[in-house]
Amino acid sequence: MKFRASVVACALALLAGGCRREMYDQPRLEPMERFEFFADRRSLRPQPPGTVARGRLLEDRHLYTGYSEQAKQPVELFPTSEEALERTLARLAGPPLAESFPFAITRRHFARGRERFEIFCAPCHGLAGYGDGMVVRRGFRRPPSYHIERLRQAPVGHFFDVISRGIGAMDDFADRIPPEDRWAIVAWLRALQLSQWARLPEIPAGIPPARAPTPEIPPVRLQRDPPAELAQVQAEQRARLGSYGWIDPEKKILHIPVERAVELLLEAGLPVRASVAGKAGER
């Protein structure tokens, strides 16, 4: 009986299970493969603190930190300890945030910024930046709308800094968004802000009456049809981004299509630091 069973087992093994796996599983470490040599079983190893990789000199403070060149205090770019982090945080209050972009913003940057914004920011901030993204509708703390006076006045370096380091409930995105992309997102934020708070020299005819300045979010509840809801929310947000409408008829402030806002910004030009030549492409 036992013999017969083992014969069957052997036959089955022959047919399938015992197939050769030469080179299917390499001894070399595949990305993120489990690796028992280390206690944490990760094949990913951290870069030793303090080391500088080729092409990661990051000397350009404006480009990589969002702080202006005039800042005297050094900022450790990659705090290696709690203490260093504290030092860095303490210095945050001090150095002036950059008022300008480190490189000239072109149409390409707006497109790139929009794309990155919609990938990383829109889930919370909403496509139009009112802080009404889908994640917020599921219970995440609502971020401030970009369309408040404080943020309209904030220097571009502030946004860069927030993306790089996080703020409040928001984590940092430095790992996911490289500096050039962060600046592109900041440019897009400017376009969003303009599109939702625009004064136009000539106001087109047929502007619909004002809506609530900031959309309300319904209380968190169980979803019935998430995809439909998603589609509806996105449609609303896109509508806001794609149309003319009054925000404040008295002050003659309206929301305009974001494409128009981009055109306006391109015409006017976003502020660029004085010494723009050369350094942008250090990587």
């Binding site: 197939c19 080179m23 690796f35 094949s43 990789a53 000199l57 990051l58 050094p74 490289p178």
Partner: protein, 897 residues
């Protein structure tokens, strides 16, 4: 047992066979936890650092993937590297992931912790403090590290009566004696081959040996001055000579004095035709010539070279004089002898040995093992447990250069701050941390110590550069810039314009008469002084001039061998001053008569013999009166090449300029090799091994002709046995357009790509080996056994994730680093452009110090390969077979008129 189980599984599944139906086991993915990392695990990062050799650094870029070092490349901006490396630099990777490394701190062999050690250290030093450190000695190898020197200086301040000794078995004492005598102070000499028209080497293997070889080889080949070499044992430098003489060590000394006499520096004792001719050639290139003596040559030869250079006005031009690079230049043999005397006198209570293995490699007459035993407190730190470690009370594993912060200076003094690439895999500690512990700071990290030192030092550097250094921030900038670039700008040793003493000639004593049988001690081409013994990547490299691997032999000429009645493989007993060693002999074409060359560094890991057993302080680099006693034993030497004659076959026939035609495909890859520029130094082979996951096979398999190297350097010695002409020919897959290997493969596992690559698909290979038979170049390798280590966990990190690790039973061969081509192709395609010339650099090309290998796109009219082929005559290997290789070899045009 585990291996056995795996083997059984392997065989069971082998019997079950039938690979197409493989069910995938589920694998897992382990992303980061609480931290985020910007780098994708498949995206390489390069970190500038340096690899040490004899205390001097070679600037390198270490490629890391997912935080694991996987490859060493040269640092193009570093003066010692200029983008190339030597074989040693490549092989540091092997030792990084070597499970045989010392892993834990031990006290008399029992495992201890760092806390235990530092506690003990504190107590021991408290005793010493009472007596000003009278009984404390520190023994290091040659130190150029500014931080280490600073730390030792501080320590000596705290313990004023303590002493610091330096010793390496391959020190530069004779040269130092010579400059001290000539200049009355310590200086270093730097040779500018790019300024030379004529070079005379007095047994100096400057193209392949030492800390400056990579740079010297590049400079030399870019200029190709006339090269005249006199040497005992054929060396890579000698193989490139326009004129090569052989001579025993004594004869070299005599010849150098004769040369000095011909220049009128000393009165002539006897005429030497060759010397006269060479002297005339040197005279013709006054100020643009170099005479240099090998490190192992006696001070007399160095002095003669110096005097000739001085007479020719070369000093300050082709020969530069600089401040010494070493932190404390000293005569190391004397330093060690002094330590031995102190031990004898009972003055040494505590000996801290940083690195090295003096028990094994100190001169035999010092009997260091016995003396060491007399020291009560013995601390040793090293990468591996060696003879000295076993005699030490405490042993602290030394952190690998890629695991720790440190600094080092290159041959010209340029300092590199060495960054760690990965946290120590085991409990390794750096010298800096150990010294800090001796100063009562057991927790100081290397990072802090380095910064402390450089913060102080930066001021002086900045001041020298004429810049003000106001703020902390400037130090940060300086620091980051130095780490990033891989060297500290402006840190090269200062050039001196000093003259040697006027009566230099009087220091030159008349030559000693030639002795009957002389012996010369030399570093080994692959294990150096033994510090790389056991490093399988290096051990397996065929030595440039003998093609031996995994062992050494006593080298002698055919005439000397027949005079002694010996043949290759005979084991003899060499006796010198009452000491003896058994060694097999090897007849080397082009070796000097009347001398035997013994290389150091073997006998430790099973292979070879330890020449150090008959090496004494008196005969440190050369000795006479060697007795040879034949034994009945024979020893089969492991060699990768059994035949060094051409058998009348033309190697590279014809030679024509080739106008490449553009093919319809996007790229057409091609390679050009300049055999004239190849010194046979093996850097390319080591780089290829590292890049392509080529497993070492060990001595036994190598002897059976089963080495796996995808790239070999064939060595031919043509012409008369005593004065042969050497040819180094790097041979790897030449990627024939009509590849004979392809049509014979039954499964289509080797086929041609549209871009002209002969491709090998391992997972389709059933191992018929027909392709290997049919390859006229014999570049295909077969995995007779499971050579690649698939089981040792730490070794898994050694493998380049871009290249498949081959299993038993499949063929492999050079792919022209197709993984690099693919990476470049993807990068270019994403940017919507073509691959730029120079964007794909094969591993061998990248490592080659002389730029003998050029790879590129033949479809690109501006590419270097295409221009080279159009501009210089070239030939394919075995061109008449009609295989149409894409690799062509440049054929020499007559040089020097």
């Amino acid at each position: 047992m585990k291996r056995l189980l795996e083997r059984r599984e392997f065989v069971l599944s082998a019997l079950a066979g039938l690979g197409a139906c493989t069910r995938q086991p589920r694998e897992t993915i382990l992303p980061w936890g609480a931290r985020a990392e910007a780098e994708a695990p498949d995206r390489p990062l390069y970190f500038a650092t340096a690899t040490p050799l004899g205390g001097f650094g070679l600037g390198v870029l270490v490629k890391t993937l997912a935080g694991r070092p996987v490859k060493v490349e040269g640092n193009p901006e570093h003066p010692a590297s200029l983008g190339a490396t030597d074989a040693f630099a490549q092989s540091w990777l092997w030792s990084l992931y070597d499970p045989a490394r010392a892993q834990t701190i031990t006290e008399n062999g029992r495992p201890r912790t760092w806390a235990h050690f530092t506690e003990w250290l504190g107590l021991a030093l408290r005793e010493q403090r009472a007596c000003q450190g009278e009984g404390l000695r520190i023994l290091t190898q040659t130190v150029t590290s500014p931080t280490l020197a600073w730390q030792i200086a501080e320590l000596l301040e705290a313990f004023p009566a303590a002493r610091w000794h330096q010793y390496e078995p391959l020190c530069r004492d004779p040269g130092r004696q010579a400059v001290r005598a000539a200049f009355g102070r310590d200086v270093d000499l730097i040779y500018r081959f790019d300024r030379a028209e004529c070079v005379v080497s007095l047994d100096a293997d400057f193209l392949a040996r030492g800390a400056a070889a990579v740079r010297y080889a590049r400079d030399f080949m870019s200029k190709r001055p006339r090269l005249l070499v006199i040497e005992t044992m054929p060396s890579p430098t000698g193989s490139k000579a326009d004129e090569r003489r052989t001579a025993s060590p004594r004869e070299i000394e005599g010849f150098s004095l004769a040369l000095a006499a011909e220049m009128g520096i000393v009165p002539a004792t006897q005429r030497e035709d060759g010397a006269a001719r060479w002297a005339r050639e040197l005279e013709r290139h006054r100020g643009a010539s170099i005479v240099l003596a090998g490190d192992e040559q006696p001070a007399q030869v160095h002095l003669a070279a110096l005097a000739i250079n001085h007479r020719l006005g070369n000093l300050g031009r082709a020969v530069e004089i600089t401040e010494p690079v070493e932190a404390l230049p000293e005569l190391e043999l004397a330093s060690l002898s002094e330590l031995a005397r102190d031990i004898d006198a009972g003055r040494v209570e505590m000996l801290v040995m940083l690195g090295g293995d003096p028990v094994r490699d100190a001169p035999a007459d010092l009997d260091f093992a016995a003396r060491l035993a007399r020291v009560r407190l013995r601390v040793h730190t090293s990468h591996y447990l060696n003879d000295t470690s076993r005699l030490a009370v405490w042993h602290v594993p030394e952190a690998h250069p890629f695991e720790t912060w440190s600094d080092i200076r290159a041959f010209d003094g340029t300092a590199t701050i060495m960054q760690p690439l990965i946290a120590p895999l085991w409990e390794g500690k750096s010298f800096h941390e150990l010294l800090a512990a001796m100063r009562g700071r057991p927790d100081a990290s290397g990072y802090e110590l380095l910064r402390e030192h450089w913060r102080g030092r930066a001021y002086s550097l900045f001041l020298r550069a004429g810049r003000s250094l106001a703020a902390e921030e400037d130090f940060e900038r300086f620091w980051r810039r130095s780490l990033h670039d891989g060297f500290v700008a402006g840190s090269a040793a200062e050039r001196l314009s000093i003259e040697p003493r006027r009566d230099l000639a009087r220091l030159l004593a008349p030559p000693k008469p030639a002795a009957p049988l002389e012996v010369s001690f030399q570093p080994d081409a692959t294990v150096w002084d033994g510090r790389f013994a056991g490093n399988a990547w290096l051990e397996e490299l065929p030595k440039p001039m003998t093609k031996l691997a995994w062992e050494n032999a006593a080298y002698l000429s055919r005439a000397t061998a027949s005079r002694l009645g010996l043949a290759s493989g005979d084991v003899v007993e060499f006796r010198l001053d009452g000491r003896a060693v058994h060694a097999p002999v090897l007849v080397v074409p082009g070796h000097a008569d009347g001398a035997v060359t013994l290389t150091l560094g073997y006998g430790r890991h099973g292979g070879g013999f330890d020449a150090g057993r008959i090496r004494t302080s008196a005969g440190f680099f050369a000795a006479e009166g060697l007795e040879v006693v034949r034994t009945a034993r024979k020893h089969a030497l492991a060699s990768t090449q059994e035949h060094h004659r051409m058998e009348g076959r033309p190697l590279l026939e014809g030679g024509r300029r080739v106008e490449s035609r553009t093919t319809s495909e996007e790229y057409a890859w091609g390679m050009v090799i300049d055999p004239e520029a190849c010194t046979g130094c093996n850097a390319c082979v080591a780089a290829c091994v590292a890049e392509n996951n080529i497993p070492p096979v060990g001595r036994d398999q190598l002897m059976r002709g089963r080495e796996m190297h995808w790239l070999r350097i064939d060595l031919y010695a043509e012409g008369p046995e005593d004065a042969p002409r050497f040819v180094h020919l790097p041979v790897m897959c030449v990627h024939c357009e009509n590849a004979p290997c392809e049509p014979v493969c039954p499964t289509g596992a080797t086929v041609h790509s549209a871009e002209g690559l002969n491709e090998m698909i391992y997972n389709r290979c059933v191992g018929s080996r027909y392709c290997a038979n049919n390859c006229p170049y014999k570049v295909r390798r077969f995995n007779f056994y499971q050579y690649a280590d698939q089981t040792t966990p730490v070794r898994r990190m050694l493998y380049n994730p871009g290249v498949t690790v081959r299993t038993r039973g499949v063929i492999e061969k050079c792919t022209w680093c197709v993984q690099r081509i693919s990476a470049a192709r993807i990068a270019a395609a994403k940017e919507g452009r073509r691959i730029r010339d120079g964007e794909v650099v094969t591993a061998c090309q990248g490592a080659c110090p002389t730029g003998a290998i050029v790879f590129g796109d033949l479809n690109d009219p501006a590419s270097r390969v295409r221009r080279l082929l159009a501009g210089r005559p070239s030939a394919a290997l075995l061109e008449r077979l009609g295989t149409r290789p894409r690799t062509r070899y440049l054929v020499s045009e007559p040089r020097h008129g």
